[in-house]
C-alpha cells in the first residue's frame, strides 16, 4: 500500500468530521453546547442536580421553602466573595488568602460606620476593602511578588488593623438602619440573595463582554505573552485584586448587618469556603480558564452539601471533611479533564 492510499481515507474522514462540526454549530444543538463545556463544570452541575433531587426526596426538611431560603442566605455571602476571588484566580494569581481577614475586618468597619447611615457605611466599608485590594494588587501586579505569600502577609496586616479599630472587642451596631439588607422580597427572596445574583451577573458580564474581562483571561493564560502583546497586565492584576477585596468587604457588610455586630471571628471560615467554591466551580487554578458563573455555581454546590449535612443532623466537622474531599475530588477531575484536552 502506498502512502498516498493510506493518506486518502484519513483526509476524507477529516473532512467528514469538519462537516459534522459545522453542522452541529449551525444547529447550536445540545451536542455543541455539551462539547464547549468542561467535563468538570458539567460533572459538578450534574452532581449538584442529583444531590438536590436526592435531598428533596430523602432528607427530611430539605425541600421546604424555609430551608431553601436559608440555604440561599448562607450561600449568598460565600458566593459574593467567591465571584470576586474568581477574578484573581482567572488572572493567574491563584487565590487571595486574605479573603477571610478582609471579610472579618469589614464586619467591624461596617458596624462602626453604620451610625453614619447605611449608604455611607457601605461606601466606607467597600472603600476600605478597595484600599486593601489595591495594596495587594500593586505588590503582585507592579512588583511581581508571589500572590499566595503576599496575601498571607496581607491577612496578618488586615487582622492587625482590625484589632486596632475594634480594640479587640465585639462592636455592637444598631442595625435598624441596615434592616433593608436583611429583608425578604415578596417573602421568598432575601435581599442578600438578590445582591448575590446581581453581583454575579454584573461580574459575569464584566468578564465576558468587556476588554478588561478578556485581558484578565489572557493575563491568566500567559502573563508574559499578554505583556508582550501590549495588554495592560499590571492594571488588570491590580484591578482583579481590588474587585476581589471589594467583594469580600461586601460580604462582610452583609454579615455584620445580619449579626448586628462586627467581630473578628465572623467570616473566619471564608478563606476555605471561597477557595472551595472557586475550585469546585471549575475555575482553573493556574488561570486563564473558567467563568464567573462557575464560581457562583461552586458556591451554591458547596453551600448545598453543607446545608444537607446540617439539616440531616451531622456535626460541623463532617462538613469540613466533606468540603476538603470535594475540593480534592474536583481538582482530580480537572486534572483528568485537562489531560484529555491535551
Amino acid at each position: 500500500m502506498s502512502p498516498l492510499q493510506t493518506g486518502r481515507p484519513a483526509l476524507a474522514e477529516g473532512d467528514a468530521v469538519a462537516a459534522a462540526d459545522t453542522r452541529v454549530s449551525e444547529q447550536q444543538g445540545f451536542a455543541a453546547w455539551l462539547r464547549e463545556r468542561d467535563m468538570q463544570t458539567l460533572a459538578i452541575r450534574g452532581a449538584a442536580l442529583v444531590i438536590l433531587l436526592y435531598a428533596c426526596v430523602a432528607v427530611d426538611g430539605f425541600g421546604t421553602v424555609d430551608n431553601v431560603k436559608s440555604l440561599l442566605q448562607s450561600v449568598a455571602l460565600i458566593g459574593i466573595a467567591a465571584v470576586g476571588t474568581a477574578f484573581v484566580t482567572i488572572s493567574g494569581n491563584y487565590f487571595m488568602l486574605s479573603v477571610g481577614a478582609t471579610t472579618a475586618v469589614s464586619t467591624i468597619v461596617f458596624a462602626k460606620s453604620l451610625s453614619l447611615g447605611l449608604p455611607l457605611a457601605l461606601v466606607v466599608t467597600l472603600g476600605a476593602g478597595a484600599v486593601g485590594g489595591l495594596v495587594q494588587g500593586a505588590a503582585v501586579g507592579l512588583l511581581n511578588t508571589n500572590p499566595i505569600v503576599t496575601t498571607i502577609a496581607a491577612s496578618s496586616l488586615v487582622l492587625g488593623v482590625g484589632q486596632i479599630v475594634s480594640g479587640g472587642l465585639t462592636v455592637n451596631a444598631d442595625s435598624t438602619s441596615a434592616d433593608v439588607l436583611n429583608n425578604t422580597v415578596f417573602d421568598v427572596l432575601p435581599v442578600r440573595v438578590l445582591i448575590f445574583f446581581a453581583v454575579a451577573l454584573a461580574a459575569h458580564a464584566l468578564m465576558q463582554k468587556t476588554r478588561f474581562g478578556r485581558e484578565v483571561r489572557l493575563t491568566g493564560s500567559n502573563r508574559e505573552a499578554a505583556e508582550l502583546a501590549g495588554l495592560r497586565v499590571r492594571r488588570v492584576i491590580v484591578l482583579a485584586f481590588v474587585l476581589a477585596a471589594v467583594a469580600a468587604a461586601l460580604s462582610g457588610a452583609l454579615l455584620a448587618a445580619e449579626a448586628s455586630q462586627g467581630n473578628l471571628r465572623l467570616g473566619a471560615t471564608f478563606d476555605f469556603d471561597v477557595i472551595a467554591a472557586v475550585l469546585v466551580g471549575g475555575v482553573l487554578v493556574t488561570g486563564g480558564r473558567g467563568s464567573i458563573i462557575d464560581a457562583a455555581f461552586g458556591a451554591v454546590f458547596i453551600g448545598m452539601v453543607g446545608n444537607i449535612l446540617i439539616v440531616s443532623g451531622q456535626p460541623y466537622e463532617l462538613q469540613l471533611v466533606a468540603k476538603g474531599a470535594i475540593v480534592i475530588l474536583s481538582i482530580a477531575l480537572a486534572a483528568l479533564a485537562s489531560r484529555r484536552r491535551r
Partner: protein, 327 residues
C-alpha cells in the same frame, strides 16, 4: 582567602544575621533582661515549634512546591498525640508522627499523580485536617493529665535548651545533611531548580516531591505533638498564624519561592529572627495588633525584596519619566 571576598560572597547571609543581631540588640536595649538565660530559654521554646515547621515547609519550597497544610497539621497532630497517648506519651507521639508522615506522602502522591499545583492539593488537605481536628476534639480544647511528660519535654538542658528545641535543631540538621550529602537531597534541589531538566538528567523528580512532602508532614506533626505535650492541651485552632510565620522564616532565610535555592542554616536564622521579633515585641509590651501588623509588614517586605521589588520599582519610575506624555 581574604575577609572582604568572603563577605562579598555571603552578603545575603550576613544581612540575615545582621537583622537578627539588630533585633536582639534593639530589644535588649529597650528592656533589660531580654537576653537573660530565662528569656533565651523561652525564645528557644518558641523556636522549637516554628523552626521545626519552617524546616519542613522549606524542603517542599526547595523542591518547587508549597505545603499550605502545615498549620492544620500542627493542630490535628497535637490532638492525636493526646488522644492516642492515654497509655503512654511515646505511643501517642508515634501515632501522631505516623499520621503526619502518611498525610505528607498523600499530599506528595496527589501532587505528582494529578500533575497539579501542590497549593491546591494542600488547600484541600488543610480543610480536611481542620475538619478532622474539630471532629477528634469535639470542637473543644483537649487536655492531657500526663504532667510528667510536660516536665520531660520542657526540662532545661544547658540552661537554654530543652528536649523540644533540641528536636527542632536535630530536625534541621538532618535535613541539612540530606540536602547536602545524599542523592535524594540533590534530586530535591534539582527538581526545584528545573523540573524538566532534572528529569531529563535522571533525577527522580516525582519521588523527590513525595519525600519533601513526607518530611514536611512529619515535621509539622512532630512539632504539634511536642507542643501539645508541653501545653498539656491541644485545640483545633492551634497553629492559625503558624503558616504565616513559617513562610516568613523560610523566605527570610533565603528560600526562593521559585524553588531550588536556599538551605537550612538560613531557615534557622530566619526562624530565630521571627521568634526574636515576636518574643521581643511581647516582651516590651506591644499589643497583639502590633505583633500581627509587624509580622505582615515583615513578610510583605521580604517577599517584595526577594521578587526584586526595589529594582522593579526603579524601572517603573524610569519608564514613567522617559515617556511622561504617553501613559
Amino acid at each position: 582567602m581574604n575577609i572582604a571576598k568572603l563577605a562579598r560572597d555571603n552578603r545575603a547571609s550576613l544581612l540575615r544575621i545582621a537583622l537578627l543581631v539588630a533585633l536582639l540588640v534593639y530589644f535588649s536595649a529597650n528592656r533589660a533582661g531580654f537576653l537573660d538565660t530565662g528569656n533565651l530559654f523561652s525564645l528557644m521554646q518558641a523556636f522549637a515549634l516554628l523552626g521545626l515547621v519552617a524546616f519542613g515547609l522549606s524542603v517542599t519550597m526547595i523542591a518547587g512546591e508549597f505545603d499550605l497544610s502545615v498549620g492544620a497539621m500542627v493542630a490535628v497532630a497535637g490532638i492525636i498525640a493526646i488522644k492516642a497517648g492515654g497509655s503512654g506519651a511515646a505511643a501517642g507521639l508515634a501515632v501522631a508522627v505516623a499520621f503526619g508522615l502518611g498525610v505528607g506522602i498523600l499530599n506528595g502522591l496527589l501532587t505528582v499523580g494529578l500533575g497539579v499545583s501542590s497549593l491546591v492539593v494542600t488547600v484541600g488537605t488543610q480543610i480536611m485536617l481542620t475538619g478532622l481536628a474539630y471532629g477528634l476534639a469535639g470542637g473543644q480544647t483537649v487536655s492531657y493529665d500526663n504532667f510528667q511528660v510536660a516536665a520531660d519535654v520542657d526540662q532545661a538542658i544547658l540552661t537554654v535548651f530543652s528536649p523540644r528545641s533540641l528536636v527542632a535543631i536535630g530536625g534541621g540538621l538532618l535535613v541539612w545533611l540530606l540536602l547536602r550529602y545524599t542523592r535524594m537531597g540533590r534530586d530535591i534541589v534539582a527538581t526545584g531548580s528545573s523540573r524538566d531538566a532534572a528529569s531529563a538528567a535522571g533525577a527522580r523528580t516525582k519521588l523527590a516531591v513525595v519525600v519533601s512532602f513526607a518530611i514536611s508532614g512529619t515535621f509539622a506533626a512532630l512539632a504539634g505533638g511536642l507542643l501539645a505535650f508541653s501545653l498539656l492541651s491541644a485545640a483545633p485552632t492551634t497553629g492559625g498564624d503558624l503558616l504565616l510565620q513559617a513562610v516568613s522564616a523560610a523566605i527570610l532565610g533565603g528560600i526562593a519561592l521559585a524553588g531550588g535555592i536556599g538551605g537550612m542554616p538560613g531557615v534557622a536564622v530566619g526562624a530565630l529572627t521571627l521568634t526574636a521579633l515576636n518574643n521581643g515585641l511581647s516582651y516590651i509590651g506591644a499589643s497583639d495588633a502590633a505583633i500581627s501588623i509587624s509580622n505582615g509588614l515583615l513578610l510583605l517586605a521580604v517577599v517584595t525584596i526577594s521578587a526584586g521589588g526595589p529594582a522593579r520599582l526603579a524601572e517603573l519610575a524610569r519608564a514613567r519619566i522617559r515617556r511622561p506624555a504617553t501613559s
